[in-house]
């Protein structure tokens, strides 16, 4: 009940804020704004407390609220997995809100405040109608950050708004077909009288292949579009580029993770529907999609020079890792290799947590620098670490974590997936074993490429000398204190979760157990698996502390050495080239740093990369920048959309507004339906 109250408060507060931004123009505005924000914050704390309690006690919360539509119901259930996600959504949503509340407009804040409870309802909804309403609310809130920003040089969709709306609506369309069908197969009764339409029922028997695979596709497309699954990821570049950086935090940290969670939960529920024969196929499909998603994400990230776009694509890479883990888990279910499944699920849920943390941190840090320097182009940044140390540290922690560096958080969850894959090599039988080996190699490649990508982003954006005046004048003192504190807190959290991954395991353990039970292993986490996971995580802590001890010891040695010696300071050695003034502009920029890898990307992948080529000794003045277009967009979606735009517009005469025509259509419909009834 508390949670419902909390959500209602949030909704009302958010909507009032939006209304305030549009209509009200009173002197009371600042006070009203503060009151509404406090109400929302209080409700978020309430929701977080409830989810912590659920997580601690391990028993699900179920409740039904009042409902006003003829069909559907307000039935909700918060199990332990949902409680985990709810906690994370409220935690990171709260952090994002805290970093925005001073500067952003009421419209932005209101949309965020509505979005967070909408995500909560998406997680908890048992009823299809309730879910779809919440889902659509969430999607519509995202529109707020797409308004009025368009980039002339970006000819794909022309506008971030269209990319966002098209992808969101296609996804919702898929879900509107898939979820009622799932509800029906799960035994929901719905007739002309309406009534609840619950979609969390258990499936008694296998569905026929067409239905089963159709549902898999619809669910993948529906939930996967928001998460950025290959091949539904084409919106990423335009939308992340056009929207402000905090939209990145909201989209990648909250919306994508919730839809990924829903995707995995739905797929787990669908296991009986698919049956044991088809389950390995689904597992293999997921692993392949995961690899494709990860590699496509990196291909996009490595051929881009804008921080927001790179971070957006890197989210895609991490979604790929998570999907590989999910596929592995499913294969473990099919082969009844439950230890493999346990490791995979620990990796999956833990990586969702870690990625939410690291990505929110990265996007909020990049918001700080964009605010100060008004650009996110790596070619115009540089040297920020001396001017904004806290922000640089936060970005660095996030970047290194996502390149899977050892004592940081995301490595631990990736290690769980790796370990599951290594175990899977022995346990999964012919095809699963082969896929696991391929996945290990691909994960290795992804790790290396992600490291190359993030060293580039952090190294070019934050280290070295400032490349432009805009980057030179930034200063941390201009940031609001909350933003500094949030950056510090997130850096700290990334490091702590890195050194003590067992803490993360305690957060995700119940969710893992629930996933195992739902996929057919009544025992949950077996004693063996539990001790294996724990010992691995403790060993990791040991290795991390060893690293730190060695570091500190070496530091002491060097400090003692340097106490006796002279420490000079000067310009970086120029190898005898004697550049001093134009030094900063002679640094390696994104174009040159990513050049070897972007060359491979343009050669070996589908990504269409525009690489500037110098053909003659003294070329004319040219603007050199790194640009790429997703191959899927360029070769598949764009032609389809063009075709539709060209030919479907010929059907416009139907909607010309002539009453005679509408009446004729009604008559035709009547005839057709009579004919259908008569013939069948």
């Amino acid at each position: 009940m508390i949670i419902q109250v909390a959500w209602s408060i949030s909704f009302i507060a958010g909507l009032s804020l939006i209304a305030l931004s549009i209509f009200a123009n009173t002197a009371l505005r600042p006070q009203l704004r503060r009151i509404l924000l406090s109400a929302a914050a209080a409700s978020m704390v309430m929701a977080a407390v409830v989810s912590v309690r659920t997580l601690a006690s391990g028993s699900a919360v179920e409740f039904t609220g009042p409902w006003f539509l003829p069909i559907g119901s307000c039935a909700m259930r918060i199990g332990v997995s949902e409680a985990m996600m709810l906690l994370l959504v409220n935690l990171f949503g709260g952090l994002i809100l805290a970093s925005l509340w001073r500067e952003e407009s009421e419209l932005d804040l209101g949309a965020l405040i509505v979005l967070i409870p909408a995500l909560g309802v998406c997680l908890a909804a048992r009823d299809v109608i309730l879910f779809l309403i919440a889902w659509e609310t969430m999607a519509l809130c995202g529109v707020v950050w797409q308004r009025g920003r368009s980039l002339p040089e970006d000819h794909y969709f022309g506008h971030g708004l269209w990319a966002y709306l098209a992808s969101a609506n296609l996804a919702t369309g898929c879900l509107m077909v898939a979820l009622p069908l799932l509800a029906k197969l799960g035994g929901a009764e719905f007739g002309p009288a309406g009534g609840p339409l619950l979609w969390d029922g258990h499936f008694a028997s296998e569905a026929n292949p067409v239905t089963a695979w159709g549902l898999v596709f619809l669910v993948l497309a529906g939930f996967g579009t928001k998460a950025g699954l290959f091949p539904f990821h084409v919106w990423i570049r335009t939308v992340y580029r056009n929207a402000p950086a905090h939209f990145g935090a909201i989209s990648s940290g909250l919306m994508a993770k919730v839809s990924l969670f829903l995707l995995i939960r739905t797929l787990i529920r669908m296991i009986p529907l698919l049956g044991p024969e088809r389950l390995p196929w689904l597992a293999g499909l997921l692993m392949l999609i995961g690899m494709a998603t990860g590699l496509a994400g990196l291909a996009g990230a490595l051929t881009s020079a804008r921080i927001k776009v790179i971070l957006g694509y890197s989210s895609m890479e991490n979604v790929g890792i998570i999907l590989i883990g999910t596929g592995l888990a499913f294969w473990g279910v099919a082969r009844e290799a439950w230890v493999v499944t346990t490791f995979a699920f620990v990796g999956v849920w833990f990586h969702i947590l870690n990625h939410m943390l690291a990505k929110t941190c990265l996007f909020l840090a990049s918001r700080n620098i964009i605010q100060q320097s008004s650009t996110d182009d790596l070619a115009r940044l540089g040297g920020l670490h001396l001017r904004m140390p806290v922000t640089a540290a936060a970005f660095g922690a996030g970047a290194l974590a996502l390149s899977a560096m050892v004592p940081l958080n995301a490595f631990n969850s990736e290690l769980m997936i790796y370990d599951g894959l290594f175990r899977g090599v022995l346990a999964l039988g012919p095809v699963g074993r082969d896929l696991a080996i391929v996945a290990i190699a691909v994960l290795g490649l992804m790790g290396g490429l992600a490291a190359a990508c993030f060293t580039g982003v952090w190294g070019l954006g934050f280290l070295g000398n400032p490349r432009t005046a805009a980057a030179e004048k930034v200063s941390e003192a201009e940031l609001s204190p909350e933003n500094r504190w949030i950056a510090k807190f997130m850096t700290f959290a990334i490091i702590v979760l890195g050194i003590l991954p067992i803490l993360g395991y305690f957060v995700v353990r119940r969710a893992v157990a629930e996933s195992l039970v739902n996929s057919g292993y009544a025992e949950g986490i077996s004693r063996q698996a539990d001790s294996d996971v724990r010992s691995l995580l403790l060993w990791l802590s040991l290795v991390a502390s060893l690293l730190f001890m060695l570091l500190l010891g070496l530091k002491r040695w060097r400090d003692r050495r340097l106490n006796a010696a002279t420490i000079d300071s000067g310009l970086t050695w120029d190898c005898g080239f004697g550049y001093t003034d134009s030094f900063a502009r002679g640094q390696y920029g994104p174009l040159s740093y990513f050049d070897p890898l972007s060359a491979y990307v343009s050669k070996w992948t589908w990504q269409k990369v525009h690489r500037p080529e110098i053909r003659e000794p003294f070329p004319a003045k040219m603007r050199v920048r790194i640009e790429s277009v997703d191959g899927m967009l360029h070769y598949v979606y764009d032609p389809i959309f063009r075709f539709v735009g060209k030919y479907m517009s010929r059907l416009r005469w139907i909607q010309a507004g002539s009453i005679q025509l509408y009446l004729a259509m009604m008559a035709l419909t009547l005839v057709a339906m009579l004919a259908w009834v008569a013939v069948l």
């Binding site: 140390p389 190699a441 280290l463 990791l540 060695l550 420490i567 050695w573 190898c575």
Partner: protein
């Protein structure tokens, strides 16, 4: 009680020897390579303990920090050494089990090594020098392309650790695999270990920036990878960078040495002596490549890495074949 005490003493002894090997010996093998190269070129060359003298000289000197640099530049040399030593503690040397071994340590090994590489890359970007940026870009690209090979080698080694059904249930770790290897393992799994050794050797040359991927003695910045990234380090920092590189080379060589000649002797000291000989022989191999080959053009490196990847993949497949995973198919 007595037995336990003896076991403890022995373990302690082994750990001490491994720490000694890991921390003290690395510069010597660099010295050996330099010496051999000089001899091959008809020069006399510096004595093999020259690297120690260099390190001592460097660590007595002062440092110059560029005004562009910040904390990253200062911490990177420490990270390089710390990561190399931590990785070295996961690899069993000289016939012993490694000080750190646990199920899954293969992956940690790969990523701890990557940490040191990342530190160098970031430090070189921190200087803001165009040359160092170039080195960083190359290092990052080639390292990324080498990762799949590394992981397939680890898969193959991990499989070997589980190959013997009687020892089933051993951990997925470097020690778990390498400790149970004998010379007889080559008789059973030689076809898989052969390509694996080749692939690992290529990887050693790449990861340690040796010819044909990089030239440690070149004087032209445009052709460097590793050397150009440490151009701006000086004094104790440079000493740490050089030392970290030496440790990393030893770690890789001891991994390969253990695979090619996995024999254990009765006595620990015989093991230690064999170990030193093995690393010496591998250093000779590295030198032979350096003497016999020129540096490759940069655009040919991916092709070579791809070749190493195929070898590693071949080793995994053959390992599965030798394990009998494919037997019993309807023929």
């Amino acid at each position: 009680m007595m037995a336990e005490f003896a076991w403890l003493a022995e373990t302690l002894m082994q750990r001490t020897i491994q720490m000694f090997i890991l921390i003290v010996l690395p510069p010597m093998f660099i010295g050996i390579i330099v010496k051999l190269k000089a001899v091959a070129a008809g020069r006399k060359g510096p004595p093999i303990w020259q690297p120690y003298l260099d390190l001592a000289r460097l660590s007595r000197k002062g440092v110059v920090y560029s005004t562009a640099t910040g904390q990253v530049f200062r911490w990177a040399p420490l990270l390089v050494v710390a990561s190399s030593i931590t990785a070295g503690l996961i690899v069993p040397m000289a016939g012993f089990t490694a000080p750190i071994h646990f199920s899954g340590d293969l992956i940690v090994f790969a990523y701890v090594l990557a940490l040191g590489r990342l530190a160098i890359i970031l430090a070189s970007l921190d200087t803001g020098s165009a040359f160092e940026g170039m080195g960083a870009s190359r290092e990052a690209s080639f390292a990324a392309l080498a990762e799949p090979t590394m992981f397939l080698i680890l898969v193959s080694l991990g499989l070997l650790g589980h190959a013997d059904p009687h020892k089933f249930g051993v951990e997925w770790s470097l020690t778990g695999t390498l400790a149970q290897m004998e010379m007889i393992t080559w008789a059973h799994y030689g076809p898989a270990l052969l390509p694996l050794s080749f692939a690992l050797f290529v990887l050693i040359l790449l990861e340690n920036s040796r010819v044909p991927f990089d030239d440690p003695t070149t004087h032209l910045e445009l052709t460097m990878i590793h050397e150009v990234m440490i151009l701006d380090h000086s004094g104790p920092d440079l000493a740490l960078m050089e030392y970290g590189a030496a440790v990393k080379l030893l770690v890789f060589q001891s991994l390969l040495g253990r695979i090619i000649f996995p024999h254990h002797f009765e006595s620990q000291w015989a093991d230690v002596v064999t170990f030193v000989i093995k690393i010496g022989v591998l250093s000779v191999c590295v030198t032979a490549v350096e003497v016999g080959m020129a540096r490759l053009k940069m655009n040919r490196i991916p092709g070579i890495l791809l070749g190493a990847f195929i070898l590693a993949a071949l080793s995994v497949v053959v390992m599965l074949v030798e394990m009998g995973e494919f037997r019993g198919l309807p023929s």
